[in-house]
């Protein structure tokens, strides 16, 4: 497979935040990512689309070294370069914990900790060793505001996170991810477990967030990708089929395979 397009083309004014280069990844014997390359533009939303099982989540989870948690997983070649450090995130010399402190993640199903709302958000600060109460309170408030949740929960911060509705829980998880001022936030189908109204509010939020942070999002909903992303990457069977500016991908895909998928001819 040749190098995908998209490195050159770009939305105006975008610089690179990260860069996936010839990445190979194995789950044990299963070759899940095959020489994948793509750029991640700073302060933009990049969407990963593709049929189920194509490797979207796998690629996303390379960004915060989530695969390190399970035995048998193997980064088998290539890498992800983070800018401006110019370091390969997947290098064994790089501390995965440091990576995760800089690159947050929001999961498919909201997964608040069974702790209070406050503690949920404060957690990512606490693991950074922050203990000052006032500082914590300020940062939690800021994060909740950033996640457009503050108004709804400001007077029930002590309640369990699980008592919130699904959409609120997902925003709580976004607040948790935001609290520590990450450089990139990864979203893995963040709305697939939510109802349309909650979905709409999360989508709006993501668009706002790119002011502050670079966003990478996996979605199986093409309409969603079209609505919120600046760049879109289409993957299939572990390969990167096409990468480009979102409008272009949806209006005039270069590849027949991409077009088939987008027009619903399969999947």
């Amino acid at each position: 497979m040749q190098i995908p397009t998209g490195f050159e083309a770009g939305v105006e004014g975008a610089t690179l935040k990260a860069d996936v280069r010839d990445l190979d990844f194995h789950y044990g014997a299963f070759h899940a990512l095959k020489r994948v390359s793509m750029p991640i533009h700073d302060h933009k939303v990049t969407a990963l689309i593709g049929p189920s099982g194509c490797g979207k989540s796998t690629l996303l989870r390379c960004f915060n070294r989530m695969h390190d948690l399970y035995p048998g997983n193997r980064y088998a070649g290539g890498g992800i370069v983070l800018y401006p450090d110019n370091t390969n995130l997947l290098s064994p010399d790089v501390d995965p914990i440091e990576v995760r402190m800089r690159i947050s993640m929001v999961f498919q199903k909201p997964n608040p900790f069974p702790k209070s709302i406050f503690e949920n958000v404060a957690y990512s600060l606490r693991v950074r060793g922050m203990t000052n109460k006032n500082e914590l309170a300020d940062r939690v408030e800021a994060a909740l505001k950033g996640a457009a949740l503050w108004n709804e929960v400001s007077n029930r911060l002590k309640e369990l996170g699980a008592n919130l509705s699904g959409g609120q829980q997902q925003r709580l998880c976004i607040a948790r991810a935001l609290a520590s001022d990450p450089e990139i936030i990864l979203f893995d189908e963040p709305t697939s477990a939510l109802d349309p109204i909650a979905t709409a509010s999360i989508e709006e939020l993501i668009i706002e967030l790119k002011e502050k942070v670079t966003i990478l999002i996996v979605t199986h909903n093409m309409q969603q990708a079209a609505r919120i992303s600046d760049y879109t990457a289409y993957m299939y069977l572990g390969e990167m089929v096409e990468f480009g500016v979102t409008d272009q991908i949806f209006i005039k895909p270069q590849k027949k395979a991409t077009e088939d998928y987008i027009t619903g001819r399969f999947g």
Binding site: M105, P114, Y123
Partner: protein, 307 residues
């Protein structure tokens, strides 16, 4: 579908449902065998023993006169032994369980530990008694102390606690693990901030059930040499002169409920049989209470945790 077909189907269903009914009855009957045995056993013991249960019975030392004999030293001994058992087994068992679930790499060493733990769970208690006799009583020279008994029972329930810990941890959704790691937590932070707090209900249940089993163990205590006549109480835990005195109690002589019961049943006078029944009743009641507590804890703490 034709009417005849429908009739045929109905005939088949009627026949199949008769078997269903038959099996339901069989199931209830089987359940009743267990339930009735327990009821008969409990009631039989209660009828014999309950009249003997007054305050004196709990506050008297053993005596050669059945009517004066009580279980003070036995129940205090049981409580102290259980305390030591818990102190020894809980940290070890929980740590081992956490290691196996959260840290253990997939290699032969882990396999050996896992096989070994499942083996330990199947080793008869009397073999633990022999181990304790050889190791604690003679080799380490602990004698017949609360320490020897407590450690023996701790080893006995260690697998129970390890397994309960592992199961409780496994019940925590993977998404919570990942959520924690994604925040930049280290493994130990994940364990101490999330895994342990959220699995505490399951662990506690396992601990209580393990202790309920240990409380009734007779054979291993007999093999380490049971003391029977103790007409005084060991020093209260951690009450002595620090630092050395704090641990006086673990070297103190003791007796426990099942031994007291065993001793009374082997006495010639019939009056002791009543004491034995009363002690047995208290013992069964203790295990029931602990099991009940486990069920309650499981129920209560689960209610507080929603994923």
């Amino acid at each position: 579908m034709k009417a005849a077909d429908l009739a045929a189907i109905r005939a088949i269903i009627t026949r199949a449902k008769r078997w269903d009914l038959f099996f339901s009855l069989l199931g209830i009957l089987s359940l009743m065998v267990g339930v009735l045995t327990f009821t008969v056993l409990f009631v039989d013991m209660a009828i014999q023993g309950v009249p003997r249960l007054d305050l004196d019975f709990f506050t008297s030392f053993p005596s050669r006169k059945a009517a004066n004999a009580g279980i003070l030293s036995a129940w205090v001994g049981t409580v102290l032994v259980m305390l030591l058992t818990a102190l020894a087994a809980v940290p070890l068992g929980v740590a081992a369980g956490v290691y196996l679930e959260e840290y253990a790499p997939k290699n032969w060493m882990t396999d050996i530990i896992e096989i070994n733990i499942s083996n330990l769970a199947g080793i008869p208690s009397i073999v633990y008694g022999l181990l304790a006799l050889g190791l604690f009583v003679y080799y380490f020279g602990f004698g017949q102390s609360i320490l020897s008994a407590g450690l023996t029972l701790a080893l006995l329930i260690l697998p129970v606690i390890i397994v309960a810990t592992r199961e409780a941890i496994r019940a925590i959704p993977q998404s919570i693990h990942e959520g924690s790691y994604a925040c930049g937590a280290t493994t130990w932070q994940t364990v101490s901030d999330h895994i342990l707090p959220y699995s505490s209900a399951g662990i506690l249940t396992g601990v209580i059930i393990g202790m309920a089993r240990a409380i009734g163990e007779t054979a291993p205590i007999i093999t380490i040499g049971a003391l029977t006549f103790i007409a005084f109480l060991p020093p209260a835990p951690f009450s002595g002169e620090p630092p050395a005195g704090l641990f006086d109690w673990i070297f103190a002589p003791f007796t426990v409920m099942p031994i007291q019961m065993f001793n009374w049943t082997s006495r010639p006078e019939a009056a002791f049989t009543i004491n034995a029944a009363a002690a047995g009743f208290v013992l069964v009641f203790m295990t029931l209470a602990m099991n009940g507590l486990a069920i309650y804890v499981r129920y209560r703490l689960r209610k507080n945790i929603k994923w």
